[in-house]
Symmetry: C2
Subunit: 399 residues, 2 copies
Amino acid sequence: MTDSTSHKLPAGFQTAGITCGIKESGKPDLSIFVSDQPAVSVGVFTQNLVCGAPVTVSKERVGRASSRAVVINSGNANACTGERGIKDAKAMTAKLADGLNCDAEDVLVCSTGIIGHLLPMEKILSGVESIVPHQGGESSHLQAAAEAIMTTDTFAKISSREVTVNGKLIRITGVCKGAAMIAPNMATMLSVIMTDAELSIEQADRLLRHAVNRSFNCVSVEGHTSTSDTVLLLANGAAKMGPVDDTVLGEFGAALDQVSEELSQMIIRDAEGADHFVTIDVTGLDSYEDAYKIAKAVAEGPLVKTAITGNDPNWGRIVSAAGYAGVPFDPLAVTLHLNQTLLYEQGQPVNYEEEAVSKSMQSGEVHIELKCGDGPENVRFWTCDLTQEYVRLNSEYTT
Amino acid sequence: MTDSTSHKLPAGFQTAGITCGIKESGKPDLSIFVSDQPAVSVGVFTQNLVCGAPVTVSKERVGRASSRAVVINSGNANACTGERGIKDAKAMTAKLADGLNCDAEDVLVCSTGIIGHLLPMEKILSGVESIVPHQGGESSHLQAAAEAIMTTDTFAKISSREVTVNGKLIRITGVCKGAAMIAPNMATMLSVIMTDAELSIEQADRLLRHAVNRSFNCVSVEGHTSTSDTVLLLANGAAKMGPVDDTVLGEFGAALDQVSEELSQMIIRDAEGADHFVTIDVTGLDSYEDAYKIAKAVAEGPLVKTAITGNDPNWGRIVSAAGYAGVPFDPLAVTLHLNQTLLYEQGQPVNYEEEAVSKSMQSGEVHIELKCGDGPENVRFWTCDLTQEYVRLNSEYTT
């Protein structure tokens, strides 16, 4: 899915990934993402009330121009761990700050993995100490960092783009992890996006929110918003493009949107036990919120998902899911295409080649186009099917 | 589950159930519920925008004191069938009205089964004609009517209570069907409740809404609100208790609540592919709506359901589902019991006998008690687990 040699780090960034011993498997479980110079940091976090300690700590530390690094461990989410969890998360950042000779407040932190267990701090602190010399700016360092944030992921997720702003080459490079408990508002999903662009805090924040709203917040595996989700953007200005006003940031913003979209789609492609990748276009609503609600209801409907599992072009379950989304629309204005075939028009099913549509679904790619009226607002949403393998994976005794 | 001989019809009601030929299996597929004298009728209907034709017709005909009957067919939902569907639903009622010598407007209609197909009207109209002589007031007639509304149900669902009002014996007898696409707001679920009490339209409506809100709207298999759901209450006054004011209706209301609760629980016990019956008590909220939202999020969380499938007392998935319900509460005030064992207190897991709790879940009965604060409002909700069998059943090619 990702060719590690094709992704370069932006200027002035180094990363590393190592094994510090949290995972019993011995797989990599500790990463750092470091800017050589102070960077603007912004973040978008889980909206789950029950959030992990690192979310609480990092939330307080984004939105500044002096950030230097992100430290991430996998294997343990440091969530539901009370005051001790907060202390541990801060200790991780203080340890890395020592190694980088910066302030602990300028280090961000994320954790992902099992919840309700205290972090093995001895392993983590000695890991953070030993990871610093491993950092570097090569593709191999990026690959190592992307691998060490994985939990049930089956491949490392990296995306990058290059654009020119003010005559300077700007790079945007992001990594993410996530393969289950994925829902809008970012369930067990972590992403770090780095750029050497020079951005104000306000610009970075606005561009990240725009990108996340149309990418990470538009993917859902099963609708479970986890306790730890975080997307961070670090912009260090190392490309020396100088400060710019918004008028020249259009191409940069589009590239950031693409990196976010590519990363979030990789999560769906890697969804636990999934056989189908589903793109849902909902069009013709009066508001974006309404279109989003309908897309989410269709994406998360177990009866829609299981129909897709069975390569069944079941228009009834799709139209009915739209109907219970809690959004007003005229049922007689609904038109539905599935893999480019018209199934439903003006409130009624039409005749179509059922077998041909079912066969097209066997490719594993499903495109649902649901037109609910003539309004100007649309949304694109991604999800996967619901398989017996998903149930098997998630019903095995895990506590 | 139900002993047909133990349920009597209220005075002045007759029912029947026959095979008219809609189902290829040859199983019963046509029922009538008839009051010998004009009855008060009230109803609660699906909130899905895409609703079946019978819902549209019956909605216009409840809330009157002259209702005489309900006709129900299974095997075809008459939904997504346009203007023709409305015409067909009305023709069903007109045919029964002929047989009963009443006005078509005084006959209500429901249909359940596949959607998007026109009703086989020839079979249905000849069935309606021939069913009339089959009606009777015996338990066997009730059983036949309850069986003929079944779709994927594995048993007929009947509940009854007797109470005394104004010195008269009053009977409440209800039937329902539903085993999939069950969600709050009544997904593919039909119920007819008959009573010989004398009620005003306003009293009947208020009592039915109270009962439905705490029963049928508190069960969820997978969160899919279908196009056809309907609960109807017919009150014909045949017990001759005379009109009463609300002060003497407390016991009657409680009995109606019990009938509704018992019927709705039967749906969960008969849920497609389910191995566990789950009762969720959410307590300590400031409003009923907040408690309801949390209970629904927990009940419909696929990760909660699959944990229960695996007999896994996974407190993390339960607490986390509460956290994303969109309701404000203090995570540090959360206490969770599962099958009477304390798992989680003040924002953190506690030590408990994991194996003993898991073993208790193997009984198939799971009781989740989630206390979210010290507020006065509580809700009780019922659901089932999510099994590989559920996925298999719902992913088989059905279009």
